[in-house]
């Protein structure tokens, strides 16, 4: 048990307004990673044996793996034994309703602008699952959703209440052998959201998860599983923040999405982990594996992401287009400033016939930051008439930043039509001059131009998110001009 106080005072002039620390008693696992810790996590969460076995198998495999170095990222080696793999706010009993949740926690989410009290939310637009460090603290609107047969709860609850579903789909899109960070997550994942949309149901509201890392020296390893059954539809949002700390925090998550026949899933992320201060001190290391499997015919998946936070981002939301006529989309805006580094992109694997995919990636680098788009488009021999269009544009602000594009295109089917385009440029002096001449200050002009540059992606975000994202972009770029 340890309670925490804010450790650094923000003198950097950064505008990271989510940098506060919640002073709350927490239950933490001791530092280090070994079999006992995994058993401890599993026991803490009251998990069935099959899940513990899954974790241990993953851990055994992880020990044989090496951390990947191919990404254009430069960060201090992570000591995986110097982290705590479990931290939960102390609660006497599992809360049955929101009234029983620790008021301190509720306050935290209020401060973050995430209303957990249902009556305060705009009449039922968003249902929220709030994840604080390693556990989910509250899920709203469960009752209302359950009426339609939609399951929206934390994954720990799902393990207990819907073990068959979880057992069937967990690890089916991202197996624990997939990569180093996914394997680590499979061994130690603590919480996350579970969504199941039954046949023929259109989810009436946006579902949302809000992740918050609070405790010091912990890693957050959440795991989200979304299953959309035949002819269903869901739009899912994800947001994240963390306190401002001097040391780097680790975040290694997995998102698995299964899309069946004629179903559609929209997944939007606004990633705003603490990016570190002006000199690149602190910040979250963000290593995320996100993958959607379009299993049924005519299924559709769309990833939209706005990446403004994290000191280091390693993230490639992918689509495996197995079903005939299925389609995948990827819209991304990534903004890096100061010493942030991002290596992000997507993978589109065309397996079924007539599959289509579209990639729109916009990268903006400022300050001393470095950004890489790394994407893969693969067309399997049987994916007749596959179609891909990729566009990656980068904008550079300042002469010390870098922007890189590394697309891989692998085509094994002659009927496939693949196009890839990328451009890199800076904000043109003419555009700036035009704005300034009309009385718009330089910073405002830059934000205007950047917002225009990102518009193509932003319009794919749900409305509430789009406003927040536009604000974030402005904040992220503050101080990058002049």
């Amino acid at each position: 048990m340890n309670s925490q106080k804010p450790e650094i005072i923000d003198e950097s002039g950064d505008k990271y307004k989510y940098g506060f620390v919640t002073d709350i008693a927490a239950d933490s696992a001791p530092k280090g990673l070994n079999e006992d810790i995994i058993r401890f996590i599993s026991q803490k969460k009251g998990e069935p044996d099959w899940l513990l076995e899954f974790r241990l198998k993953a851990y055994e495999f992880w020990k044989t793996m090496k951390e990947p170095t191919w990404a254009k990222l430069n960060y201090d080696k992570i000591d995986y034994q110097d982290l705590s793999y479990y931290s939960a706010p102390k609660q006497k009993v599992t809360p049955k309703s929101l009234d029983e949740v620790d008021p301190e926690l509720l306050q935290t989410y209020e401060k973050l602008g995430i209303p957990l009290k249902e009556q305060e939310v705009l009449a039922g637009v968003v249902a929220v699952d709030a994840v604080f460090d390693s556990v989910s603290v509250a899920t709203t609107y469960r009752q209302k959703l359950a009426e339609q047969g939609i399951i929206f709860c934390s994954i720990s609850e799902a393990v207990k209440e819907h073990p068959d579903l979880v057992k069937q789909y967990l690890g089916s899109v991202v197996p624990y052998t997939d990569n180093f960070f996914a394997c680590l997550n499979s061994a130690v994942f603590t919480d996350g959201s579970f969504v199941y949309i039954p046949k023929g149901i259109r989810c009436p509201m946006e579902l949302s998860t809000y992740f918050r890392i609070n405790a010091k020296n912990t890693g957050q390893f959440e795991r989200t599983l979304i299953v959309a059954d035949d002819e269903s539809y869901v739009s899912y949002l994800e947001g994240c923040t963390a306190p401002q700390r001097d040391e780097n925090q680790l975040h290694a998550a997995i998102v698995e999405i299964v899309v069946n026949k004629n179903a559609e899933v929209k997944y939007s992320t606004v990633q705003n982990w603490y990016p570190g201060d002006k000199d690149g001190k602190g910040g979250v290391y963000n290593f995320v594996t996100k993958r959607a499997a379009c299993r049924g015919e005519n299924s559709k998946v769309s990833w939209t992401q706005v990446e403004t936070g994290s000191a280091v981002t390693w993230k490639y939301p992918s689509c495996v287009l197995q079903g005939d006529n299925s389609s995948g989309e990827f819209y991304s805006v990534a903004i890096t400033n100061n010493h942030q580094q991002a290596d992000t992109g997507t993978k589109m694997i065309h397996i079924g016939k007539n599959t289509t995919s579209k990639i729109i990636s916009k990268g903006i680098s400022a300050g001393f930051s470095n950004q890489t788009y790394r994407g893969l488009v693969r067309v399997a021999p049987k994916a007749d008439n596959a179609r891909n269009y990729s566009q990656c544009d980068s904008l550079l602000i300042g002469s010390h930043c870098g922007s890189h594009t590394v697309p891989y295109v692998e085509n094994r089917n002659k009927t496939a039509k693949l196009e890839h385009e990328a451009t890199t440029s800076k904000i043109s002096d003419e555009q700036l001059f035009y704005c300034e001449q009309r009385g718009i200050g330089e910073e405002e002009a830059v934000s205007l131009i950047v917002n225009g540059f990102c518009k193509e992606v932003m319009q794919h975000l749900p409305m509430e998110f789009a406003i927040e994202a536009a604000k974030l972009i402005n904040i992220s770029l503050e101080g990058s001009v002049g």
Partner: protein, 468 residues
Amino acid sequence: MGGLVQKVKLFGEYIPWFQSMRDKGAIAFDELGLPTPKTEAWKYTKLRDLNTDDLVIEPSNFLAEMRVAAEEACGCHHEDGGCGCHHHHGEGCCCGHHHEEGECHCHEEGHVCECQQKLHVPFEAYVIHFEKGKMIPPFPDFPRGVEVMNLMEAVLTEDAKEYLGKVVDIKLHPFAALNNAYMEEGIYLCVHKNVKVDKPIVLINHTKSGEENIFFNIRNLVVLEQGAEAEFVEWYNYTGAVKSRYFANVVNEIVLGKNAKLSHYKLQDEAFKANHIALSVVKQKADSNYHNFCLQRGANIGRNEVKVLLNDENASAEVDAAYIMSGWATLDTTTDILHLSPRTYSSQLVKGVVGGEAKGVFQGKIHIAQDAVQTEGNQLHRALLLSDTAEIDVKPELEIFADDVKCSHGAASGELDENQLFYMQSRGIGREEAKQILIDAYLNEALDKVKNPEIRAWLSDYAHAPQE
């Protein structure tokens, strides 16, 4: 890798500065080893078919070459007096040219077998002949201001000392390291200040099949002094049994002085089971211009890698290529353009046609260093897939550390347009012919980049010849 690392007696072991380069090459290759699929630069070109075990490296020939050059011999040396190559039934004519059926004359009475003759190019040129990676003297007469020597001669006279081994970084390129270890054969070409060479300089390497699968290394050093202009053509050619499985490892080091201009063309037409791996590294000074065009149509594994260092302001490079392939071949076009100074320019156009079970690979990289502002780099790769089993793997890469730049790349792949085929068929052109017309037109866009019309016509003939 028994076949690649062998003890051979080479000339020049007593020259310390030169021998130390060979030693460093051997060490570097030992450290790097053969690229594996995990090696990023070789991700798509799998070397498991390289089959190096039975490769044979022939001993040094330098002194013999020198003697022959001194005697000014006729240049036609067949030790056994005969034609030396075996014509097997059913294997067709071996003379390396592509005849319409029944047009081959090389076995008629009174006709000298073409493989006994030296190859020639259908345009006026200074031709230097190599056979199986060994120089065949004599050199043609070059005009004043153009210095051409056997590489070893240039080592002896120390003409090559300034640049040899200093343009290519062997720590990055395993096959260049290997090439260093066997450095002996090749030419040293130097064009003096403000000299414009009137005819293209052509290097023909001709490989005839023998009993053994040979492994040879060629290292060329091309230096253009300030204001010099030249055209340099490499032609890798083959005659003999199709089965021959030799390995050619070529490295070109090219230095362009201020305002110099080099057009560098290459035709890779090796045997279908042979392997050809080539690297050209170019260092450019201010206002210089380098144009490279490579047509690849032979070899089992064929890789042409061009690395250009735009070191000074206003240097520009165009690196274009075309490839056409069938069978099981893997043809790899790799480029790496480094913009290291402000106001440098590059453009690339690569077009490929892939049929059979072949695999086309394109890896193109544009790197822009910090402060290399106001640079422009463009790259376009397009490929046509002709069969269900063909494969194309593309990795166009941008690496940009400066803000005031204009960079773009594009990559597209697809099949022949049915509508276009239908259009031609409806006008009485057979489907196969229509296909060929479309393929030719497709490749012509890249071939049009070749500025010299005679060389363009020559390359076009090879690009448009249907593949066996």
